[in-house]
Symmetry: C2
Subunit: 188 residues, 2 copies
């Protein structure tokens, strides 16, 4: 004994990710996750509503970070500057989980149900950002469009970040992706 044990939540998360990767998300049961983590099903349900939530429990924290950063941006910031600050605020949260992210992405991509859930998550983040911009007095359609642009940058930047040969950090890739989006929409 004496070996350090991570907390129950992390152990359940790790066990779920391992099983989803090894056997597939659809066939894995909560009982199997709990067993692999050396915990009970009851403990599982103290932390997660169901087996899908293990993959999406970070969404609320991500949304809070984004929304808070938009609210905290200087009054002089343009809508795009405010969401850029928000994207830069979440970069480190992802870089800390560099190992976890590509594994999670592979699990999502293997299941239509999870892809749908992921799209809903991204749509909710876009709406939350737009609402945060409206609270700053940004009118529509600018607020809605800026929310969508931010989530596009997030999504495309994320796909690049998890590529195997990528060695840059997420924040840097988000900045680059935003610059590329601006180049694409710039007058020709």
């Amino acid at each position: 004994m004496g070996r350090w044990q991570p907390d129950s939540r992390s152990r359940l998360e790790q066990a779920a990710m391992d099983l989803y990767s090894e056997r597939g998300y659809e066939v894995t049961t909560v009982a199997q996750i709990a067993e692999r983590a050396g915990l009970t099903e009851r403990t599982f349900f103290r932390h997660f509503g169901d087996k899908r939530e293990v993959l999406f429990s970070g969404a609320a924290a991500l949304q809070d970070l984004l929304v808070t950063a938009v609210a905290d941006a200087p009054i002089s910031a343009t809508p795009l500057e405010a969401v850029t600050a928000a994207l830069e605020a979440v970069g480190p949260m992802f870089d800390q989980r560099r190992e976890f992210a590509p594994k999670r992405q592979a699990i999502i991509m293997a299941s239509v149900e999870l892809q749908e859930r992921e799209l809903i998550k991204l749509a909710s983040l876009s709406t939350a950002l737009a609402d945060a911009l409206r609270s700053r007095g940004v009118p529509d359609p600018a607020a809605g469009l800026t929310g969508e642009v931010a989530i596009t940058v997030f999504k495309v930047g994320f796909e690049r970040w998890i590529e195997e040969d990528n060695h840059r950090d997420f924040t840097q890739l988000l900045r680059e992706t935003l610059d590329q989006l601006r180049a694409v929409t710039a007058p020709s």
Copy 2:
């Protein structure tokens, strides 16, 4: 008799839309749709795979129109000009169905399942546009970003077009929305 009868497909579509609006999508059955249209269930299934498909059967035609327009854009066109041509190509298809669109949108918004399906449809359109741009030699991430920008303009433009007090046509609103997106991403 002697009264003109629209074809079976349109009658089924109309009956389905009426029932989804009146009673809700979830509780409406194929049998009820067929009965309301004065047709058999067998006829329904000759036209549609299930009751959801009635609401999404236009997606393939929409994707074809978008992709063909990107392919047909002048060689000199920038990626954004190519997708702008694509958006302008689909405008008239929507303006012809001015009555249908807000009704369909209200049905979609009342059902989580349908909202998920709608998000998947939009994601597929974005991917199809990006692929059409890649076929023109547009590299990544520009191709992926331009596909996403086009679908953002489509989505936000659509929401404005179906607003009750809107009297402008869809093509005009798409152009306006694209200009607003460019204003949002322009250097400050």
